[in-house]
Symmetry: C2
Amino acid sequence: MAEVKLLGLWGSPFSRRVEMALKLKGIEYEYFEEDKKNKSPLLLKYNPVHKKVPVLVHKGKPIAESLVILEYIDDTWGDIGPPILPKTPYERAMARFWPKFIDEMCIPTLRRASWSEGDEKEKAKNEAATLLKILDVEVKGKKFFGGETLGLVDIAAGFIACWFGVMEEIVGTQILNKDEFPNLCDWIEVFNNDNFVKQNLPPRDRLVGKYEAHYQAVKQARAA
Amino acid sequence: MAEVKLLGLWGSPFSRRVEMALKLKGIEYEYFEEDKKNKSPLLLKYNPVHKKVPVLVHKGKPIAESLVILEYIDDTWGDIGPPILPKTPYERAMARFWPKFIDEMCIPTLRRASWSEGDEKEKAKNEAATLLKILDVEVKGKKFFGGETLGLVDIAAGFIACWFGVMEEIVGTQILNKDEFPNLCDWIEVFNNDNFVKQNLPPRDRLVGKYEAHYQAVKQARAA
C-alpha cells in the first residue's frame, strides 16, 4: 500500500492543485480516480463530512479540502523541493488570503457568469470583472503571485488560468481580456506556458468536452 | 502609534476571534471600533477587497480575514504564550479543516435556521442539525476540539457557543439541545465558563439587544 494516496477527479481544479503540489515536491503517490456519480467507499470513508475530492491519505490518515492539503504538504515535506508557502509571516498571510478570495469569491462568481442566463448572468459578469480587476492589480509587476516562483496563490488561481478559459470559450463570453486585465492575462500566459504547470493541467480537449456536456445539461435543465 | 492595531466590531464573532488570540498570546494592541453603517477611512484603506472587520495592522501592514489573522498571530508570536495551532502537520491540518467547515457550512446555515421563515427555516434547521452532529462527534471525549487546551478550532467555534445561543433565545428555537448533541453541549459549557474565554466574549445582554433589533429588522423587511 502506498504511503501517500490521492483521491481525485481528473477535471477538478481542486484535485489538480494537490497533484501539482505533490509533483512540485516530488512526492510519489498512488492516484485513485473517483466517479462523481458513484462515489467510492474509500471516498465516503475518508471524507465523510464533504464526500468530495480531493482527499489526501498519508500513512492512513485522511486530509480533505485542497487548501488544507496544500498546507499539509508544505508542513510535512517542507525541506523537499521548492516551498509552496513563503517563509515570513506576512507573506504567508498573503498566500492564505488570496486563495480564500479565489475560492470564496472568484470561483462561484465566474461559474455563475458562465452558466447562468439573462439578468443573473449580466450581474455575475459585472461582479466577475470587479473581482478579476482586484487580482489584476495584485499580480501587477510580478511574474507569479508570490514573486519569482510558483506558489500557493498561483496553484489556487489555476482555475482562472485554465478552467475559466475553457468555460468562456464554450459559453462565448470574453470577460477575461487583455485590454481590461493586462496583468492577469500576462500571468495566465506565464502560468499556462510554464513547463511544470503545463504537464499538470488537464488535457484541454477533454476539458472542453466535459464543460460542453455540462453546459448542455444546464440549458436542458433550464428549458425543462 | 501602536505597533499592533485591530479594527473590529464588538459584536462580531470574527473580530472577537482575533481579540481572543491576541489576548491569549498577551500581545498589546490598539483597538478601533468600526461603524458598520459608516466605515472608517482606515478600514477602507486597509481592507479594500472585503471592506470588512476584522483587520489586524502590524507595523503598518494590514491582514484581513479572521482565520488568516489567527495563523499570522501564531506565525509571528509563536514563542509567546500558548500556541493557537498545534505542532504536527496532521493536527495542523485538522485545526484548519474544522474552522473552514464552521465558516463555510455551519455559520451560514445556523444564521438561515435562525432568521428565515417557513419552509426555508425548516430546511435550514434540518441541515443545521446534520452539521452540528458532525461537530458533536468530533468533540466527543475531548475537553476542547484540539484536546486539553483552547486552540484555533475552539476560537472559531465560539460563534456556536455564544452567538448562536443568543440567536436561538431570540427566535425561540432549540436546535442545540443536550439530548441530540451531548458532546457539543458539554464543550459549550466548558468554553463559555472558561475564565479566559468569558472575559473575551461580548456582554450577553448587549448581544441580545443587537440580535433583537436585527430580528425585528428582518421581520419588517419580510412584511414590506
